[in-house]
Amino acid sequence: MHNQVIGKPISRVDGRAKVTGKAKYAAEFTAPDLLHGVVVSSTITKGRITHIDTGDALALDGVVKVFTHQNRPKLAWFDMSYKDLDAPPGSPFRPLHNDRIKYNGQPVALVVAETFEQARYAASLVKIEYAQEPHETDLQHHLDTARKPASGLASLLKPPPPKARGNFDKAFTEAPVQLSTGYVHGFEHHNPMELFSSTVVYGKDGKLTIYDKTQGAPNSQFYVSQVFNIPFRDVRVVSPYVGGGFGSGLRPQYQLFLAVMAARELKQSVRVSLTRQQMFTFGHRPATVQHIDLGAQPDGTLDALRHAATAETSRFEDYIEVVVNWSGALYKAPNAQFDYNVVPLDQYTPLDMRAPGGVTGMSAIECAMDELSYKLGMDPLELRLKNYTEEDPNEKRPFSSKQLRACYQQAAERFGWTKRSPEPRSMREGHTLIGWGMATGVWDANQLPARAEAVLTVNGKLRVSSATADIGTGTYTIMTQIAADTLGLPLEDVLFRLGDTDMPLAPFQGGSLTAGTVGSAVKIVCEDLGKELLKLARKMPNSPFAKAKFDDVFFVEKQMRLKADPSVRIDLQTLVDQNGGRAIRTTATSMTNSLKQGKYTRYAHSAVFVEVQVDEDLGTVKVTRAVTAVAAGRILNPKTARSQIIGGMVWGISKALEEETVMDHRYGRFMNHNLAEYHVPVCADIHELDVLFVEEHDDVVNPLGVKGVGEIGIVGMPAAIANAIFHATGKRVHELPITLDKLM
C-alpha cells in the first residue's frame, strides 16, 4: 500500500553512466605500466604441438614474454582445482596445460608486450608446428555414439528428463492421429558486444584486483583462487558493468586464466582481451537433433507424447541442458516418454546461452504442435487450450502460479488472431505471402540463497550492495527500487552497488533468477536495517515507538511511521543521529523456502503471436509484428522488464531466421567467426514488437513474488515464427535458421 517505486517504469539508474561513456567495462580499467596480452589460437582441431618458435616474437621491441605450455608456471595439478562453480561433470579445459590440442581455436600461447600493437604483431610471428590427428566434430555423423550424460552438481538446477508415464508405444500406435517429426538446430555463439577481457592489477603486496567480464565475480574469484592457490582475500574481482552476457560469462573464460598467470609471473599488471574471432573459441549453444512423436484423438486430445533430444558436448565435459522436460510439463499427455543424450566431439564444451535448452526444446514441441494442428484441422491455439494443464504432469504437483491461459487470451486478442484464415497460403498481397503463427513459452522461476549488505550513512543515504551482476538486465535499477521502497527513501537517496567480491556473496546472474534471488536479499537486509532503526527509536526518551514491533511500523518519505497512527512518525535522519555518529550497517542472507517451494513447479509462461511476410519468389522473410504476453509474477519495473522481453523476442527472430555458426567439419573450424558473417539482427530487421504483462500473483516463488524475465521472451518466439512461415508458405522447415534458400 505504501509502494512508491516498485512496479513503476523507472529509468535505469545507471543510464547516465552508460549514455555518457563513463560506465567502465573490464578492458577499460588501467594501471601503471600495464602490459598487454594477445592470445595465439590453435589452427588445428586435434593433435599435439610438436614445436613452438617464439624467437621472432621475442625479438621485437616491447615484447616482454611469450607464454606457452613449455614455459608456463607450475599450477594446480588436480582437475578439481579448475572446476568453476558452473562447471559440468568432467575435466575442465586447462589453458596451456600441455601439448595436446583438444579443439580448434584453443589458446596455445600468450604474447605479452608493452603496447597492444606490439603484442598483436608479435602474436602473428609465433610459429607453431603440429602433429595432427583425425577429429570428429559433426553431430549428425556421430549420432550413433550418443550416450547418457554424466550427472553432477549442475543437475541441481537442470533436472534429468522426466520419468516415462503410461505406455507411450501402445498409446502412440493406437492413436487415430499420429505425427512424427524432427528438428535440427546448429551451433550458436553468444557474441555479447563486449569482447571478453580481464585487466589484472598487480598490487605491491602481490594481491590481485581483477576487472573481469563475468556474470558472477565470485565465480571468477573462486576459480583464480583454486587454480593459482591464492587465498580468497588476495583476489578481488570487480565487474561493475558487463557488456552483455547471455550466459557466456557464467564460466570464467581463458583470458582470465592467461591474464592472471602473466601478471603473477611478471609481477606486473596485465590486460588480455580476446578478438571477436576468439569469441567463437569457447562455450556455445550446442547443436541438437530432436525427434517428437505425438498421438492424438480427432478432437486434439493428446494421448501420446515422445520428445527425444541429442546434443553435442566436448570430449572433456558433459554439458547438459534441459530440452525435453518442457513438453512434458506443458501438455498433459498421459502416455509420455523423454530422452536426452549427448555426443562427445572434438570441440569446446557448450555453455548455457539465453534460455538454454528451453528455447531449443520449446521450438521443437511448439512446431510439432503446430504440425499436429494442421493434421487435425484445428486452430493451433485451440489445440493448446485442449491440452492445457493446471498441474505439472511431470512432477504431479501444482504450479505455484500459471496464468498461461490469460497470456493466450490477451495476446490473441491484441494480435487479432480470430481474423486468421486457417489455410496455409491463404493470405497474400501480390507476391508477398502473409502468415500468422503462435507458440508457447515456459521458463524456470528459481530462487537461490544470496547475501546483501545495507548501510544507512550518517547523512541518511542508503547504500546497498551484493556481489551480483547487471549484464543489462536492470539489476541496478530494480534493486534500488526494492531498497528505496523497503525503507521509504527516494531513489536518489539510495545507491545500489554490485559486481565486486568485497561485497556479500550472490549467485552468478543467469537463469532469470537474479530479480527473485538478490531482490529477496535486498528486501530482507533493508528490513533488518529497519529493525535496527526501530531499536534506536525505541531507545529514545519518551519514544512513541517504545512498544512498537517491526510489524507495527512502516517506512515512507524518509520516515518511520506507526501503522496504527501514521501521524506518529520520525525522520530516519533523526534515528541515524542517535547512533553515535556512526552509520548503521546490516548484512543478511535470503534463504529459499525449499520445503514450501518444493511442493510446486515454478515457471514463468508466455504466449507469442507472430506475423510474417514471405516473398513467394525470393524466400525473404520479414517479421512484421509480434505480440508476447508474459506471466512472470510481479513486474518490478515495467520499463526494464519490457526491454528484457523485447530483447528476448529479437533473439527469437535471430534464432529462427539468422543465427548459426557454421563449421567446416573437414577442418573442425568455425568459418563464419565474425560479426559480418555470423548474422544477428540489425535495426532494419526489427519491426513492431508488442509486450503485455499479464497480472499474476505468486507468494511461493520468493518473498517478492517475482519470476524474472531475462529468458521467457525468447522461448516461444522461434516456433511462432516457423509456424507463421508455414502458414504463409505451406513449407515446414525443420532446420533453423530459416534462411531464404530454404523457402525458395
Binding site: 604483431y121 501480390g430 525470393l618 557454421v662 567446416d664 568459418m671 558473417e677 534462411t739 525458395m744
Partner: protein, 347 residues
C-alpha cells in the same frame, strides 16, 4: 598488424612514385575500411602505406559529353547523396546505399570501392587454404578451401580457368561496382607510364589460374576517377539485393537492372535499351551483352525477363551450399527487371 612505413604525399605523381618505389609491398590507403580490416587479419601485409587522402581527387565534376566524373576520393556516401548522382544515376545511388553501413559509406571512397576484396571465409582466415590470398607461406596454405567446403556465399559463374580447373570460387563483394558495370563506367588511372582509362568491364577479372589478381591494374597505378557516361537510365532502373538480413550484410545475389522504354503502339511499351549486371555470383560484376540484346525490341514481360535471365546465367555452376543461387539469381533478375520497368513496386 605488421609494421609499415607511412607516407603522406600531396600530389598524384608523388603518390605514384611512392608506391612504385616498392611495388610489391606498398599499398595506397584512402578510406581504409577494407585494407585495415585485412591488415588486422594479416591477409594484407604491406610494408609501406601511402596515404592518398590529401590528393586533390575529391570532387564530382560534370563532363562535356553530359557524363559525370566521380573523384576517386569522394566518399561513397557523398556520391550516393550527390544531387547530380541522385537525379541522373539513381541506380548508382541505390547500389551504394544497399552496401555496408552509413559509417562505412562515410569512410569508403569511390576508388577504394573498386578494390574491395572478397568476403570468402577461407580467404579471410590465414589458417585455411586459399589460392587468392596465397602469395607465399606467410599468408597461409594454397588451395581453395571453399570449393569442397562451406561455399554458401560463393560464385556460380566464371569460375573455370582455361585449363578447365577451378582455382577460386570467390565473389566480388561490391554493390557499387555492379551498378558501375551496368552503367558502363570508365575507370581513370594514373601510373608510372602516365594516364589511361579502363572500361569497368575490363577492370575486374575472372580468377582463371591466378585468382590472387582481382583486377587488371598495372603496378604503381592509382585510380583517380570514375567517369559515368551520359546515359544514366534514370527513369527505369532497379537495384535488388538479396541477403541474409535486411541490412548491413553482403549480397547473396544482387541485380542492377536498367531499361529504356519506348511507346511502341497503343498496346504498350517496348524495351529500347537494357543493361543487366549481377553481384554476388562471380569474381567480378557479371554482365553479358547477349542477355541485354534479348531484351531490346521486346515488350517488358516476365517471360522476356526470364529469357534474359537464362542467358545471363548460362553456364552457371553450383558447388553445393551455393547451388540455390542459380535459381535465386534467375528470380532476382526477373524481379529486378520488373521493378525497373515499374511493373512491380520496389521495397
Amino acid at each position: 598488424m605488421k609494421p609499415f612505413q607511412y607516407l603522406r604525399p600531396t600530389g598524384v605523381d608523388a603518390a605514384v612514385r611512392d608506391l612504385t618505389a616498392q611495388p610489391d609491398a606498398a599499398k595506397f590507403i584512402a578510406g581504409g575500411t577494407n585494407l585495415i580490416d585485412l591488415m588486422k587479419e594479416h591477409v594484407e601485409q604491406p610494408t609501406t602505406l601511402v596515404d592518398i587522402n590529401r590528393l586533390p581527387l575529391a570532387t564530382v565534376e560534370e563532363l562535356e559529353d553530359g557524363g559525370l566524373r566521380l573523384g576517386a576520393l569522394v566518399t561513397n556516401a557523398d556520391t550516393a547523396y550527390h544531387p547530380l548522382v541522385e537525379q541522373r544515376y539513381p541506380l548508382l545511388s541505390k547500389a551504394i546505399l544497399a552496401g555496408a553501413s552509413a559509417q562505412l559509406r562515410n569512410m569508403a571512397t569511390n576508388g577504394g570501392n573498386l578494390f574491395q576484396r572478397t568476403r570468402c571465409y577461407y580467404f579471410y582466415d590465414t589458417s585455411m587454404p586459399c589460392n587468392k590470398r596465397h602469395s607465399g607461406p606467410s599468408q597461409g596454405p594454397a588451395g581453395c578451401g571453399a570449393l569442397h567446403g562451406y561455399n554458401r556465399i560463393h560464385a556460380i559463374l566464371g569460375t573455370e580457368s582455361a585449363d578447365g580447373n577451378v582455382h577460386c570460387i570467390a565473389t566480388h563483394p561490391s554493390d557499387m561496382c555492379v551498378a558501375l558495370a551496368a552503367l558502363e563506367a570508365v575507370v581513370r588511372v594514373s601510373g608510372p607510364q602516365g594516364e589511361r582509362t579502363i572500361p569497368i568491364a575490363d577492370f575486374h577479372r575472372l580468377p582463371g589460374d591466378t585468382p590472387q589478381h582481382d583486377n587488371t591494374l598495372r603496378p604503381g597505378e592509382l585510380v583517380t576517377a570514375i567517369d559515368l557516361p551520359a546515359n544514366g537510365f534514370s527513369h527505369y532502373n532497379s537495384y535488388l539485393k538479396l541477403r541474409d538480413r535486411a541490412s548491413y550484410a553482403f549480397a547473396l545475389v544482387s541485380v542492377a537492372a536498367a531499361l529504356e522504354l519506348e511507346r511502341s503502339d497503343a498496346s504498350g511499351d517496348q524495351i529500347s535499351a537494357a543493361r543487366l549486371a549481377m553481384g554476388g555470383v562471380a569474381h567480378k560484376p557479371w554482365r553479358k551483352t547477349e542477355a541485354e540484346a534479348l531484351l531490346v525490341g521486346q515488350r517488358p514481360t516476365p517471360d522476356v525477363f526470364g529469357r534474359a535471365a537464362d542467358a545471363l546465367l548460362d553456364g552457371a555452376q553450383g558447388y553445393g551450399h551455393n547451388t540455390f543461387k542459380i535459381e535465386l539469381a534467375k528470380r532476382a533478375i526477373v524481379r529486378a527487371l520488373s521493378q525497373a520497368a515499374k511493373l512491380e513496386p520496389t521495397e
